[in-house]
Symmetry: C2
Subunit: 350 residues, 2 copies
């Protein structure tokens, strides 16, 4: 899944080059490329499919030239994850009705790739043996208030349990309780299932959506597919797969994963995952000369010099035509800022 | 006088385009151009001479195309104001031994140009009638601690007094006393005298300097002048005209001026002299969207958007390859910052 706009990282992430296409960690590979590299040992290249917004097609081709052109599914509109996953499942099921699939966001950070591979392999074995919707739950390592949590129920296999509840982002007090009980895992938005299992679940819990895709019967996996999507995808109701299916279905399981995971959903998470200097400053892209400044993250164009004095715990993001200076504690306001900028300057700076 | 480097305004003012060449107030004219415009009603065009460092010759020609080419005096080295003024005086005296002259910095702000013209005209009358070194003293309007002051002595003509003392920058308490007494005026570094008067004073108080220029007798005002300067100017001891002459001579007078004046020597003075929005922010060059931010000055490339949150009384200066973020209260540290940057990155960012 590669269609997000990454507005929380504006102005570093822009509408024409969102977060997943950026070399976010300065490794030389974008988050999308890292996601591709990670999945390559697990899924044959010809079975790796990228679903994205049609405006990002050139970026996908540029960053993943080895991806087969017909494995890029281009959404003509943004409709959240349920329609995206439904399309992919119909597409895959048309090619192989018995196929199983992993659904992976392309803009997250994962460390410990061996653990990841083991976990995903075990997950595939589990979903291929029955009719199960499996989500990966990440073992929490801190009382994070920015994530949703999954409470585990009865064990059904090694490291695999029934899901008891999905919970929204908790406050800090509750997050600490979650961490102590050992029953709660971070909801990473990574799913495994047979294509037929998710289509069945979608049919049951979002019949409007599947009714729409069912009209394309015989077209998926054929040259007529993209034309069908162009005409019909916009009519899909926008909905997340969590809300549409996962929180409703009764065949939902969680595999407890131990690899490192971060959704890089916030500047603070990028800060936390970046190397820091002696004053706990992160400088990405440019050179930093700092006085009485600590706990900041500076993201600037390559080679730019930042001289900072008297800044504590700020985000300083210079994107060439836009400069954002904002306390890390205020980063939840950035979406509102982007809206304000849009109101005042139209699309100029988005 | 147009040879300064303006390092206190780094990175907005750069070695290759210092403060006097910048459209500092967003009026469409640089400080140098404004200085030229201001002097034009007082001095015939063919008598306006610019003394600058030789590296700025192209900038002078670009900004003042109407200036006569032989009226640009190019210093091969930086030696402060005494050698600069000495050269100009020798040059002018060679053309007209009876000439009087005004010495004016090119990087200050002056408002009330009618008052300025009256003041300068009266000053010329005074210095042409005798052997006097006249400095303009600006009527202070606040207890400024960033300027030197002139204490007036006995009156000798309308608004013209003997100088009693020159004083260094006072602390705030003393500056308040200065303001109350009515005896103290800001030292603006604007001088009027006959060329012969200042040469005589230089001969008396800095004989080393005049000995050097006297060796060029017969060359000033001729094609041989620039070659002579190239070979000899570097040997001049660096010194200010205040220290070399004004604080020592006994024929020093001050004309009390009432026009508005600001040496634009600090970011705070630029802030004070710029229009502000409802939150007391100054935004120059770019567009500003501010939250919980006030008392700041933002200077950015044209059209750049700055989104600021939680900044109070900061300087934010974006010069393309350098971004400075610094509390206004710390601006006296900027010179040290420039030195630190030079140590770490050589000339890259100067």
């Amino acid at each position: 899944m590669c269609g997000g706009v990454g507005s929380r990282f504006w102005p570093y992430s822009r509408e024409d080059r969102p977060k997943q296409f950026i070399d976010f960690l300065g490794t030389g590979r974008s988050l999308l490329q890292m996601s591709y590299d990670r999945i390559l040992p697990l899924v044959p290249k010809e079975n790796i499919i990228v679903v994205t917004n049609e405006k990002y097609a050139p970026l996908i081709r540029e960053q993943l030239p080895e991806l087969l052109p017909h494995n890029i599914l281009l959404e003509p509109a943004r409709r959240n994850t349920a329609p995206c996953i439904a399309w992919a499942a119909y597409h895959i099921a048309a090619i192989d009705p018995e196929a199983s699939m992993i659904v992976a966001p392309s803009d997250h950070l994962i460390t410990g790739e061996n653990m990841y591979c083991e976990c995903v392999s075990r997950g595939f074995e589990f979903v291929e043996a029955g009719d199960a919707l499996l989500t990966l739950g990440i073992t929490p390592v801190r009382p994070e208030t920015g994530y949703g949590y999954i409470q585990i129920g009865a064990p059904v296999a090694d490291d695999i349990n029934k899901v008891k509840t999905f919970t929204e982002k908790p406050n800090l007090e509750l997050a600490k309780v979650f961490l102590e009980t050992g029953e709660f895992f971070w909801n990473a938005g990574i799913f495994l299932w047979k294509a037929s299992s998710i289509i069945n679940a979608l049919r049951r819990y979002t019949p409007d959506l599947t009714a729409l895709f069912d009209r394309g019967e015989g077209l998926f996996g054929t040259p007529g597919e993209s034309d069908f999507i162009s005409r019909n995808f916009g009519a899909c109701p926008a909905n997340s797969i969590d809300y549409a299916v996962m929180e409703k279905a009764d065949n939902v399981y969680v595999e407890c994963a131990r690899f490192g995971w971060n959704d890089l959903g916030t500047w603070s998470s990028l800060y936390d995952n970046s190397p820091k200097d002696a004053d706990s400053n992160v400088a990405r892209g440019g050179n930093l000369v700092a006085y009485d400044s600590n706990g900041n993250i500076f993201v600037t164009p390559d080679g730019k010099l930042v001289v900072a004095d008297g800044l504590k715990d700020y985000i300083v993001a210079d994107a060439g035509d836009v400069l954002l200076i904002c306390p890390k504690a205020d980063e939840q306001r950035i979406k509102q800022m982007v809206n304000d900028v849009k109101m005042r300057f139209d699309e100029d700076y988005l």
